[in-house]
Amino acid sequence: MKLTTATLLAFASMTMLASPAFAQDKNVTVVLTEVLEVVDPCMAARSDVGRVVLQNVSETLTEFDPGTSKLLPRLATEWEQVNDTTWRFKLRPGVKFHDSSTLDPADIEFSLKRNKTAALGCEVGAKYFGATEFTTKAIDDTTVEVTSNPGSPILPLLLSILPIQPSEDPVDKFTTTPNGTGPYKFAAWDVGQSATLVRNDDYWGEKPVVEKATYLFRTDAAVAAAMVLAGEADIAPNIAVQDATNPETDLSYPNSETSTLRIDATLPPMNDRRVREALNLAIDRNAMIGTVFAPGVVPATQQVPPTTIGFNKDLKPWPYDLERAKKLLAEAKADGVPVETEIQMVGRINIYPNATEVMEGIQAMLLEAGFNATLQMFEVGEWNRYFVKPYPEPRTPNLVQCQHDNAKGDPVFTAFVKHHTEGAHSAMSDPETDKLITEATAASGDERTALWEKLFAHVNDEYIADIPLFYMVGFSRVGPRLDFKPTIATNSELQLSQIRFKAQ
């Protein structure tokens, strides 16, 4: 009985609890759906770190604008190619880190090196510079030459993802107090609970409106969305599609991800092109839009999204044609292809929202078309074994659920790893494809664009290497106080300087 009294008392006093006061301040609260484990800028290619640090605390030399597919100056004001392997960058003068040290070529050299430190395993370095060696040469205080081996025609683009850290940062361990040049200073990190950024009044560029940003972590996306609804947070940059119920606050954005099923084209029966085509034809993509996939997703035609150079816009999404799929299968069978072989669908739990249901749906469709498809959903560790070479032995024909992110505008980040015989995630072996990739990687300008287009036409229409599903969208819930539209970049960064307050 004591309990009841206590509960009543508690409720009574709770109703007097004031809701958070937002009145006049220029502070925002961001609720992220991952718990920030590290804050080192060299991990900024991870979306959780990137949304906090990238371009807010730490900046890059160049900045890719996905809207225009143009490369904009940031810490570098201009750049030019010196020779096949070397580029020269002009640093923005007078830029200071938050600890008041000045940005100089040594910081560029340091940042490149640090990203390649083996023991750190920096995300940026491991993801984009793994096979590249860099040497730098300071020409003067604001000019630096970067030489890469192998040479890269798109080095300035590559450097749009490298946050510049001061050479005073520790070399062999992660910093917990990132020090950058950006419009916000990293003020506090309460591990597991929150991180706080405050405006940098000495910022070299335009002074942003938001004065202070608090990041909270809620791994349950429904709770994150509820927090914006309850007024406890202003932005939840990444909520689940099923929670995006209010068109006023819940905004979708293309998130530069492409969802696919990777076909293992090296093993029967899927080493037969007709079988691969039948797989594509058996899937009713339109039925999945707005149901298991978010409304707004676009049927994909190739691995890279439309914002990439060399995206082949002539490719058409596969239609849903069950009859033809069955016919193709029958033909293949007649030619002795073992089409009854079990095809294992390898899914990864939560690779994107509703990942399991998507696989269940596709499995049902494949079964209907006459494939012997089984489904296995794995956690990331187990899934990885199927996704990355070397594949587990004995190999069996499988379809692996994948999602690939290329927000960087050039297919080089995609083509080799996905389609080249030697690619780490590739399950195909096609000499023509390998040749095209090698040529395109070395080319530049319009030739590069044309070669990439040719590659995707070959891979997706002639060879049929995979089952492209959709160009994906993400959802942000933005509180009524803010004037902010998420873009394709919201997937990897959240620039506080782009946030405005609505006039009230």
Partner: protein, 304 residues
């Protein structure tokens, strides 16, 4: 008493060592931590360099030797994922779990003892039946269901409490309430059963013959005798909470050890896993010791 504590400590150390060795070796069977830490696009050369730099290529027995050697210096190694000392990571998380468990279990015991005793005094009557059914239903309901419903109802719709987070005492209400339900249902049943036995025992009759009030009989005479099995079960439940209330932690954004443990297992962050197991086992051991001492305190017949 002293020798009892000593013996128990020795046993626990044996168990703990066995546990750590077991976890150390078995966990290495679960795949390559580097593969999970590095981005999937990372080339093989980067992976190899990372493994080499992190000592993951050393023979298992060498790794184990390092682990033991470091452990002797009270060093659990570094969290692969966070690149900070694993012990620090665990120590940041553990107080949250400890507080959550302590508050929840105190309330559970209070509630279960009061309601369980009332049920025992009214065996077979509607109060007893209803409390049994409700507590049983509550105990078998999925906890995330309860958690999310509570958030939608009390935080979003009614606005009585914050949805989640840790800032003020108000933030603790929902998580504690959700955690409360399962052990409450179970312990209520145990209290009820144990109190029925106690209330029918001979000394209760003596107390009635002395003219003691029913309430004093129930809560002074019978309760203390009925507490032994209750404490045993409560200890098991508390151990469960100390191992982490994963759902509550992730739903309410409590940076506790349960979620840390799960994440670390899924990420193969072995140093953190081992440190977390060490801390929680130690806490559970201390709790069990306290429970044994509580036995002796409650029942003078028990001597160690």
């Amino acid at each position: 008493m002293g020798s009892f504590v000593l013996k128990r400590s020795l046993y626990s150390i044996i168990s703990l060592v066995g546990l750590l060795v077991l976890v150390f070796f078995l966990s290495r069977l679960t795949g390559d931590p580097a593969a999970l830490y590095l981005p999937v696009d990372a080339p093989a050369s980067v992976r190899e360099a990372f493994r080499e730099a992190r000592g993951l290529n050393d023979p298992l027995i060498v790794q184990f030797g390092d682990f033991v050697w470091n452990l002797l210096h009270f060093d659990f190694g570094e969290s692969l994922r966070r690149q900070r000392p694993a012990f620090d990571v665990v120590l940041e998380a553990f107080p949250w779990t400890l507080c959550l468990a302590a508050i929840t279990m105190s309330l559970v015991l209070l509630g279960a003892v009061v309601l369980g005793s009332l049920a025992a005094m009214n065996v077979g009557k509607s109060f007893d039946r209803i409390s049994s059914v409700i507590s049983l239903a509550a105990a078998s309901a999925p906890d995330f269901w309860v958690a999310l419903m509570a958030i939608f109802l009390f935080a979003v719709a009614l606005g009585w409490v914050p949805t989640s987070g840790t800032g003020t005492p108000w933030h603790w209400i929902l998580p504690v309430a959700v955690l409360f339900i399962r052990p409450f249902g179970l312990i209520l049943q145990v209290v009820r059963g144990s109190m029925i036995t106690a209330l029918s025992s001979a000394y209760v009759k003596t107390a009635r013959a002395k003219g003691v009030r029913q309430r004093a009989i129930t809560f002074v005479h019978a309760l203390r005798n009925a507490m032994l099995p209750v404490i045993t079960v409560a200890g098991d439940q508390a151990a469960g909470l100390l191992n982490g209330a994963v759902v509550v932690e992730s739903v309410f954004g409590f940076p506790g050890i349960g979620k840390l443990m799960i994440d670390s297992i899924l990420q193969r962050d072995f140093a953190v896993v081992l440190a977390a197991i060490m801390i929680t086992s130690l806490a559970i051991f201390i709790m069990n010791l306290l429970i044994d001492l509580a036995y002796a305190l409650l029942d003078p017949r028990i001597r160690y």
